[in-house]
Symmetry: C2
Subunit: 428 residues, 2 copies
């Protein structure tokens, strides 16, 4: 049986699970890849860090470039931009296949990596970069290759999904739910990348690039996080038949695409509504296949290692059989749509004085921007300075994002307080 | 750009959608496959049948062997065993790649087809044979290639899922729900293949062969259909926190596998519980990835055509790039477990005389087979011949299938009527 050589860069949570499975599953993996997978070296930052028994100390080195010299497959599990970017570029330049789970690198420098791969004829795999064990990259690259994807809607960040879920089921406020998530290790001490949506934006960039055959970088993805969501927003949404989820969304329109990350009201009957806890799920809609959903664990050492090993087997199999992995096909001439061309529904929650004319003023501003109202709820709030006050929740019908934004800006000129503005999933 | 030639056998619901998409998506498909896909011939049974405009009449022929002579890829969408089997064998023998959506053929004659493919070095693709547009074959063959699959649980027959869903949401009995399904075209005039579980068994055979790297034929899959399920069973299950689904189930144990199709009580919190209507969903559990779920449309012309075209693009891409499709790897030495070694939980519903000693007799029989009771409900029924009667529902803890079967047989000797015996999903 032929031999395929590997270098593993990084032996942290994911890297050590990859090494464990490469050892424990060796016979199975060889049968499926058609080749013996031989780890030649493992690059780590610090040789003194204690390692599990299944990592052979003789393979460890702090010299990543030496580790990957001449190997067939480089598995990059360092994360972050540098030194990962330089190492991946060097690996591709020497013709090694690269398997990576590095979403930040792909979302920021994808085009550079794809071009380096194309220049040397090397392959680049990155199933583990989006939604962990959930094989959505494969599905979009391969299974739906004969179809046209019209929309992707994903819960791709487990931390924020866990936080919103805790807020929904236990009535917690954001800060309390975040603290719980941090205690349980579901959120980092600095939760910015998760709760402000940047992690989801990197995944949205990768998914939309694949689905629309174009280049979307994470910096091009408009992002709204979940810090401003309150327990009251969630309770009101629930009463209206919705749950609030942080969604990575990518839609194809005739004249362009719309990619963004934002919390949205999702109808309770939508398949994403029941995705709870730290799970990930991605809905893919295409012209022929209709609506598909992929669901599973989006993070964690073993699940992510499973995705990495799926790529390693495919990469090794391609090596020994002489074919190539599917090329990155950025052949489509599709640009981002301006907000004046994308339609959405909004749910506005406004605090106002409970006196005649106030609601009429709000309704007039919406009408002035050609925005129809779908439903309205009003509930009394505690009086302030003797003034009776009320919270009004207005769900609009679909209107352009530009009109919705302009209306919200104009509402700011009234003597009202805008508590929250959320997009509603679905245009009907 | 190189050219890849195709013959399409069959131009029915799926075949005509495949031809439509091959025409409308030609440029897209060529970009992804790296080759122009050229349909050389379309084999049909009757030239006089009216066809949609997008099918070029000049391509039609009733001679399937002539149609496929010398082509690169044969797309078999005739269905059934013969002539499909002979044609697929001939195509593989001449070295053509075969793409098929024929579950019955694969489940009955899979080994013969795999061997014919191996003998000539030809490729065999069959994503469309299981769960329509849902790319679960791909996920198991490719994405999870580095992992070890421990369990597959699928709703793979839309007809029975629709019927059970109608029974659940509208309280209909089986015959009423079947009649509705037939009126709407979701069930055939002869619904046997669906409602008796044979269609699901064919898919279970294909999925378990792939997942366990062994050969499972549909005749080896024990099958129970849904004809005996009543509205009362469903209502009682719901009250206990379960919904009844027809499941294709495949489990790997240390010393063998257990594959079967049967209606089961599924906990309402299980991701399969909320899969409604004619949708399909497959849960795949593996050691590293944990639980994944794939969801989508399991039937219909366009969704199935999407899966066929995904295979066609992969097949064409492999042709022009010189590599091979993944081989069928039946290297595992795993046999079916006898029921004495497989554990399950059961839900028994029994009608008995409402008098002292009756429930004790039932409980004694269960205890005699070492079966523990998890919970019991008793509800009064109308008296018969002056005798008060009751229906008792007993949910057992996990026991071997052999013990459960023996206990049910022994219960038959009491003066009770066994209304229903259902397996409960989950062993805890």
């Amino acid at each position: 049986m032929p031999e395929v050589s590997l270098a593993v860069l990084g032996a942290g949570t994911v890297g050590s699970q990859v090494l464990r499975l490469l050892g424990q599953r060796a016979d199975d993996l060889a049968a499926r890849a058609g080749a013996q997978l031989v780890v030649k070296a493992v690059a780590v930052r610090n040789l003194a860090t204690p390692r599990p028994d299944f990592i052979d100390p003789a393979l460890l080195t702090t010299d990543a470039r030496a580790a990957m010299a001449g190997v067939d497959i480089v598995v990059e599990l360092i994360g972050g931009i540098e030194p990962a970017r330089s190492l991946v570029l060097a690996a591709l330049a020497q013709g090694s296949t690269v398997v990576t789970g590095n979403k930040a690198l792909l979302a920021a420098h994808g085009p550079e990596l794809y071009e380096a791969a194309a220049a040397s004829g090397a392959d680049l795999y990155y199933e583990a970069a989006v939604a962990g064990a959930v094989p959505v990259v494969y599905a979009i690259r391969e299974s739906l290759a004969g179809d046209r994807i019209t929309k992707i809607l994903g819960i791709v960040n487990g931390t924020t999904n866990y936080i919103l879920d805790e807020m929904t089921t236990k009535g917690l406020d954001f800060q309390e739910a975040l603290a719980t998530a941090q205690q349980l290790g579901y959120a980092e001490a600095d939760p910015t990348a998760d709760v402000d949506g940047h992690d989801a934006a990197a995944k949205a960039a990768i998914l939309s690039s694949l689905a629309f055959h174009t280049r979307v970088a994470s910096k091009d993805v408009p992002v709204t996080g979940i810090r401003h969501i309150t327990a009251a927003d969630i309770a009101q949404a629930r009463a209206d038949g919705y749950v609030i989820k942080l969604l990575a969304s990518a839609e194809r329109h005739a004249d362009g695409y719309d990619v963004r990350v934002e919390p949205r009201l999702v109808p309770l009957v939508h398949p994403l509504a029941s995705v709870s806890g730290a799970f990930n799920a991605v809905v893919v809609e295409s012209e022929a296949a209709g609506r598909l959903m992929f669901y599973g664990q989006g993070a964690g050492g073993a699940p992510t290692a499973s995705a990495v090993l799926g790529d390693v087997v495919a990469a090794a199999s391609h090596k020994v059989r002489g074919g190539n992995a599917p090329a990155e096909l950025a052949y489509a001439d599709l640009a981002a749509l301006p907000p004046s061309r994308v339609r959405a529904r909004r749910c506005l929650t406004i605090e106002l004085c409970d006196q005649p004319g106030q609601l009429a003023a709000v309704a007039n501003i919406l009408a002035g921007h050609d925005i129809s109202i779908d439903r309205v709820h009003q509930r009394p709030l505690a009086a302030q300075e003797g003034q009776p006050r009320a919270a009004v929740t207005i769900m609009t019908k679909a209107a352009t994002r530009a009109a919705l934004d302009a209306a919200v800006t104009e509402l700011g000129s009234l003597a009202v307080r805008i508590i929250n503005v959320l997009t509603v999933e679905g245009n009907d």
